[in-house]
């Protein structure tokens, strides 16, 4: 316990509040800010319509947003590089269309068709990465042109009818499978135990090496908050249809990519390229390989999101992947604290952002807002988020000039 004092600077309540204020001002308290935002949005809509926070509606919110969250994971990776991919919506639509045609028109097994859709996404991402690194074309140009092309190909693939119904199979079961209450609780307990175990193991490792460690108290608080969130989640979904399979899928994906970005060499290099590409190059990092890999992963995740969207809709049509899907997938992570300028962000912002954006959209639908209002509100929220991000970025810059 003696090493605990080293890390925590002696601060009273005032110091803590001041530290919190500094973190908010410099955009380091991202998750906290987002949770406050979610709380505000939920309170507002709950007062307007008391069905908003009902288990049924919250479960629907999760199902609606799982596709967006999946696409957003890829967007986070690309934003970390300081690049943008405007084709994720179109790629998701095209991948889903190819999958649907393979299953329904060609009789391919659903599992194989999903794999084909993901492979197509990977191929498109590889192409994007190649164009961007080989010909030095800005990513927004390559992907904007790409998005037009892929929409065209999607119309071509879908052919005359324009809509393909998927029927009941592996694909639709992805979003229509719910676990019984006991399994939900088992998942929650497992998640809490693993969170606590990994935090404790990491702390013990640091302590054994004589490095400063965070106080046991804050570890308990953090585990407690995460545990409470899991318990609340399971409590809510169990009152409705149960824990949705797709929520577990999205969670596993975010967990995997959070691990890759924060704890592996590849992830470290992604941050380095986004922070200072020239420095990364001089440090011997093959920055073009990193870029190509990230664009490949981004489009693959977009394709995965397309599969989930098709699963939820139980069909693929000409407007799959269009409308505001692209905007939501990019706006979500940005609202949740991933920088548009590269080098800052986390895979978790994909989920958080999807919840924020989804809550606004879902709430406005419940209140039967006109679509004019919905567009204006969503646009205003995005502008506000980007402005906050820009201002905090300028503040951070300001602290360097000492």
């Amino acid at each position: 316990m003696s090493a605990e004092q080293d890390s925590a600077p002696s601060t009273g309540i005032v110091g803590m509040i001041r530290e919190l204020g500094r973190k908010l001002a410099q955009g380091e308290a991202g998750p906290l800010l987002v949770l406050l935002m979610v709380a505000a949005i939920w309170t507002f809509f709950q007062f307007q319509n008391d069905r908003f926070l009902s288990p049924g509606n919250l479960t629907n919110l999760m199902l609606q947003q799982s596709a967006v969250a999946t696409i957003s994971i890829g967007v986070v990776l690309i934003l970390l590089l300081g690049e943008i991919d405007l084709s994720v919506g179109a790629v998701s639509g095209l991948a889903a269309s190819v999958m649907a045609v393979l299953v329904v028109n060609r009789g391919v097994s659903p599992v194989l068709a999903v794999i084909a859709a993901l492979a197509l996404g990977a191929l498109i991402g590889l192409f994007n990465g190649f164009m961007i690194t080989r010909f030095r074309i800005p990513s927004f140009v390559v992907t904007l042109a790409g998005s037009l092309t892929w929409v065209g190909v999607q119309l071509l693939v879908l052919g005359e009818t324009g809509t393909i119904n998927l029927g009941d199979n592996f694909i639709t079961q992805l979003t229509s499978t719910f676990f019984p209450p006991m399994i939900g609780w088992a998942v929650a307990v497992l998640a809490i135990v693993l969170t606590a175990a990994f935090a404790f193991l990491a702390r013990t490792g640091r302590q054994r090496s004589g490095l400063p460690v965070e106080p046991m108290r804050s570890l308990f608080v953090r585990t407690g908050i995460i545990g409470a969130a899991f318990i609340a989640l399971v409590l809510v979904v169990n009152q409705d249809r149960g824990l949705p399979l797709v929520v577990c899928i999205v969670f596993a994906l975010v967990l995997a990519f959070a691990y890759i970005t924060e704890h592996t060499r590849f992830g470290r290099h992604v941050f380095a390229v986004g922070g200072n590409a020239e420095a990364a190059r001089r440090a011997g990092i093959k920055i073009d390989h990193v870029r190509i890999m990230v664009f490949t992963l981004g489009s693959t995740l977009a394709a995965a999101g397309g599969v989930l969207a098709a699963s939820r809709l139980m069909a693929v049509n000409q407007s799959s992947g269009s409308s505001d899907l692209l905007l939501m997938a990019i706006a979500g992570p940005v609202i949740a604290g991933t920088s548009l300028f590269g080098g800052r962000g986390t895979a978790w912002s994909a989920i958080l952002g999807a919840v924020v954006i989804g809550s606004i959209a879902n709430g406005m639908n419940l209140l039967a807002f006109a679509s004019s209002v919905k567009f204006i509100v969503t646009g205003a929220v995005l502008i506000a988020a980007v402005t906050i991000e820009s201002v905090t970025r300028m503040r951070r810059r300001g602290t360097q000039d000492t």
């Binding site: 490095l211 470290r268 200072n276 020239e278 420095a279 011997g284 080098g343 951070r396 360097q400 000492t402």
Partner: protein, 266 residues
């Protein structure tokens, strides 16, 4: 005046020339740095300082010239060659990632993997990296960085310079080139960096400092090599030379009073 044989120096260059089109950036320049010695390379803008340093760092090849490293003739035709020999360069822009912490910057591009099962998951061994980062900074007597987990973007100019220098030492070099290490630093920060350069010398490294600031040069250097119009115009032992002598050698002006001051080599 410094007629010692090249074998006693860590790194010595003979007759280095480089032309950019019609512009002769360097013509027949000799240069040498010994172990445990700080050599300041000074000269006006366009005197050829950066060209010379780029040639040593392998960034830009020179047209002609002989390189000797630890007494053996060598060729430096790429930055990798220079690094492999043990020549590290810290550029003026430092090449740090502001969005990463001190540990991540020190180990950028050479991250350490964990052992055992975690190796299969490509897990970076943060504990080992943090430990050796602390050790390295301690060995360099960098006392201003307490927390190696802060983002480099939030450090002061002097601290950033210290991180950049510390990083260059991870490859165990024997010669370190520092490009304008004190430019744009405040008084106390400059002090920190100068004392760090002193630490490098005490560790037996050959240090080459390019600087415009003669006050700093006098504070830290053992020898001063003056370049003027692509030629080595003078060499001074820092003891027993005045600022005016060096300025006169840099500008080439006869600065009035002291005609015998600048000893022209070239």
């Amino acid at each position: 005046m410094s007629a010692t044989g090249s074998e006693s120096y860590l790194l010595s260059l003979k007759g280095v020339s480089k032309a950019f089109g019609a512009n002769q950036a360097l013509s027949g320049v000799d240069f040498e740095v010994g172990a445990g010695e700080v050599v300041a390379l000074v000269g006006d803008n366009g005197a050829g300082k950066s060209t010379l340093v780029k040639a040593i760092a392998g960034v830009q090849l020179c047209d002609e010239g002989e390189f000797h490293f630890k007494g053996k003739p060598v060729r430096i035709s790429s930055p990798q060659d220079a690094t492999a020999l043990g020549i590290a360069t810290v550029y003026q822009d430092l090449a740090l990632c502001d969005n990463l912490d001190v540990v991540a910057n020190l180990y950028l591009g050479r991250e350490v993997f964990s052992n055992g099962a975690a190796r299969g998951a490509f897990l970076i061994d943060e504990t080992t990296m943090e430990q050796s980062s602390l050790k390295l900074l301690q060995a360099l007597a960098v006392t201003t960085i307490h927390d190696v987990r802060v983002h480099v973007g939030s450090l002061s100019g002097g601290q950033r310079q210290a991180v950049a220098i510390a990083r260059s030492l991870l490859g165990e070099p024997s010669v370190v080139l520092l490009d304008e290490p004190t430019a744009a630093l405040g008084v106390s920060q400059t002090e920190q960096v100068l004392s760090l350069i002193g630490t490098l010398r005490d560790r037996g490294l050959g240090v080459v400092v390019i600087s415009h600031n003669l006050e700093n040069v006098f504070a830290v250097a053992d020898r001063i090599i003056v370049l003027r119009l692509g030629k080595r115009s003078a060499t001074f032992d820092v003891r027993g030379v005045s600022r005016e002598d060096v300025v006169a050698a840099i500008t080439g002006a006869e600065f009035g009073v002291r005609p015998a001051a600048a000893k022209e080599d070239a």
